[in-house]
């Protein structure tokens, strides 16, 4: 089968940890997760703490190894990548994480993240070329070079630091961004700016894996939504369908718990109780069952 360029594919990925004395117990953090991210697609990975959503992000970035299953990018299993091939992979796939303040070394100026990238990937670039490139990347994330270059991390706001990290990823011309809770630490007014930025980057063809616990943020930005519970996908589908017709009992309970401005929790619960979800049978042992086009749900386990 021929794979499209720049497609990330997870195929029944599992991650388990050995815990306890001499690793006597095994804890499964991620169980049989399969999905794809196409170029220009924003896929939201939504789950509560401990659902394994960050683990999936780290496995894609090869910060963690998969225990079972494969992650392939451009048709190549990323576990096999080494040296130059791995470096090329990182030129395509980068991650940005939750806390912008701890992503920087406070002793050095914030733009050191650019300098380090230059040393690794663009050692031949001339100063003026590099400067122009940095400015273009900063412009793409709506930052003004004079405001942010040559400053220490504490002199910049959380939103600026987070955007600098995205700009750093853009310098590499990446094709997939793993964004792990990148706006949870930001204020409401800055949050939406970073989200809009992701939307603009997507329009230019960047694929984004948007990892979050916040259902409304995922709804705003994503094309595809996955709901993760205890390491397993319980519902996956196109975002309007998952939000418009939540089917798994866990998804429905989550949706009813989201605090909203114009709808009280009581109303949400009443609405939830008034409708009954489509019955999803798991008789043939399928992990996910299609309830409608582009909308798959895991059978309920009693």
């Amino acid at each position: 089968m021929l794979e499209g360029a720049g497609v990330l594919r997870l195929d029944t990925c599992c991650k388990s940890y050995r815990v306890g004395a001499f690793g006597s117990n095994e804890v499964a953090a991620v169980r049989n997760v399969s999905f794809e991210v196409q170029p220009g697609e924003v896929v939201a990975l939504v789950g509560e703490s401990g659902s394994g959503k960050s683990t999936i992000g780290k496995m894609i970035l090869r910060l963690l190894r998969v225990t079972e299953g494969t992650i392939s990018y451009d048709g190549t299993d990323i576990a096999t990548l080494e040296h130059q091939a791995l470096k090329r992979y990182y030129a395509d796939v980068q991650g940005v994480f939750q806390d912008p303040f701890s992503s920087y070394n406070p002793i050095f100026k914030a733009d050191r993240v650019f300098t380090m990238l230059r040393a690794a990937y663009f050692p031949e670039a001339r100063d003026d070329e590099w400067r122009a490139k940095v400015e273009r990347a900063l412009e793409a994330v709506s930052l003004n070079a004079d405001d942010v270059l040559n400053k220490y991390p504490h002199q910049l706001s959380g939103g600026q630091l987070q955007r600098l990290l995205i700009a750093r990823a853009l310098l590499l011309d990446i094709r997939l961004l793993v964004a792990d809770e990148i706006i949870s630490m930001l204020d409401a007014s800055t949050r939406i700016d970073v989200l809009n930025l992701l939307g603009d980057l997507k329009a230019r063809g960047l694929a984004i894996l948007f990892i979050t616990h916040d259902l409304s943020l995922a709804n705003y930005i994503s094309d595809t939504t996955m709901i993760l519970r205890r390491g397993e996908i319980v519902e996956i589908g196109s975002t309007p369908l998952v939000y418009g017709n939540p089917t798994h009992s866990y998804t429905r309970a989550l949706m009813a718990s989201v605090p909203q401005l114009h709808r009280s929790w009581d109303e949400a619960e009443a609405a939830l109780a008034a409708t009954s979800p489509a019955h999803v049978s798991g008789e043939n042992g399928a992990r996910l069952v299609e309830v409608e086009d582009e909308h798959l749900v895991a059978p309920e386990r009693l």
């Binding site: 509560e48 703490s49 706001s157 959380g158 204020d187 409401a188 007014s189 800055t190 949050r191 939406i192 700016d193 989200l195 809009n196 939307g199 616990h213 259902l215 409304s216 943020l217 709804n219 705003y220 930005i221 975002t239 309007p240 939000y243 309970a253 989550l254 949706m255 718990s257 989201v258 605090p259 909203q260 401005l261 114009h262 009280s264 929790w265």
Partner: protein, 318 residues
């Protein structure tokens, strides 16, 4: 009137000068009122909450009066405040769940806390056990270490502990942040239940999350850069905000159903001013689309409607 704050001003001392974190806050909280205190990080909301119970070493009382149930609270006097803490005013500090001493069992912490306030723990323990059960915890948690409890359980323990002496005012600083949505809902609802059962008379809920306040608060007060911007019933804040800052803050919230592809929400351009040297006049005017010449003078925080106060020249006083 349960709490009456008049011109409360609290600064932080820093090497570069005073950080004017709370500047002339004047407001009331009625008996039985759950008041939400909202604003972006660094707007002074936590400082205001802490200022009502304990000023830490970096904080300096500059002026203002705080009255609780008709008694003036000696907030500038750390020692004299002791008789009010936990009994009359109680605070659930930010990150309380990670501040529990990891080497002490919950029960030991509870007795230590009560001893420190001069209360005989034996008189309170039965009630403490009853309330732990009420919030869905077994009394065994008293024999557990904090690391044995989940985030939601710890937050519940902290809430029960801080309200066990039935204080008149409970200040809950970001108690619903850092929790999953289902736990967040349970914890937020507990606050309402504590009020309904009379464990506390009124509550100030400090959070940056306006949608949680929309669920549980009776009134919402919005702060911006150390100043009060607006206070009104939750219904009015959510439905008819008067201050431009409140409106813009609400407009920047992506709600379920709003999608980037259909409607692009706008953030608030710019950043809050430094509180070391805040600009004269309205502190929001740099970022405000309606700013005009008179905004160089500070707008007073006045009544603009029934039960609604705002500090903006654009909003006609009534």
């Amino acid at each position: 009137m349960s709490l009456r704050v008049d011109g409360l001003t609290v600064y932080y001392q820093s090497l570069r000068g005073d950080v004017k974190a709370v500047d002339g806050a004047t407001f009331d909280v009625a008996d039985g009122e759950i008041m939400g205190l909202a604003g972006e990080s660094g707007c002074g909301k936590s400082t205001l909450g802490k200022g009502l119970i304990r000023l830490d070493a970096r904080m300096r009382y500059v002026g203002g009066r705080v009255e609780l149930d008709g008694h003036e609270l000696p907030i500038a006097d750390d020692a004299r405040m002791n008789q009010y803490r936990l009994k009359e005013v109680s605070l659930i500090p930010q990150y309380a769940l990670s501040a529990l001493n990891p080497t002490r069992k919950i029960g030991r912490m509870a007795t230590d806390l009560l001893h420190a306030r001069g209360v005989d723990p034996h008189t309170v323990l039965p009630e403490l056990r009853r309330r732990l059960q009420l919030v869905g915890l077994s009394e065994d948690v008293l024999d557990r270490y904090p690391m044995e409890l989940s985030g939601g359980m710890k937050q519940r323990v902290v809430m029960v502990l801080s309200s066990v002496l039935d204080p008149s005012l409970l200040i809950a600083d970001e108690v619903t942040s850092a929790l999953d949505v289902s736990t967040q809902k349970a914890v937020a609802r507990l606050l309402v239940e504590f009020r309904d059962r009379g464990f506390v008379k009124s509550i100030i809920v400090i959070t940056h999350d306006l949608s949680v306040l929309a669920q549980i608060a009776d009134t919402v007060m919005v702060m911006y850069a150390g100043k009060l911007a607006e206070k009104a019933s939750t219904h009015a804040i959510v439905g008819a905000p008067q201050h431009p800052y409140t409106s813009m803050l609400l407009a920047a919230l992506p709600e379920v159903g709003v999608r980037f592809a259909d409607r692009r929400l706008a953030g608030i351009p710019g950043r809050p001013p430094s509180l070391l040297n805040p600009p004269a006049g309205c502190r929001f005017r740099e970022r405000c689309p309606f700013a005009e010449a008179r905004c160089a003078h500070e707008p007073p925080f006045v009544e603009v409607g029934p039960g609604q106060q705002a500090a903006c020249w654009k909003v006609p006083a009534c």
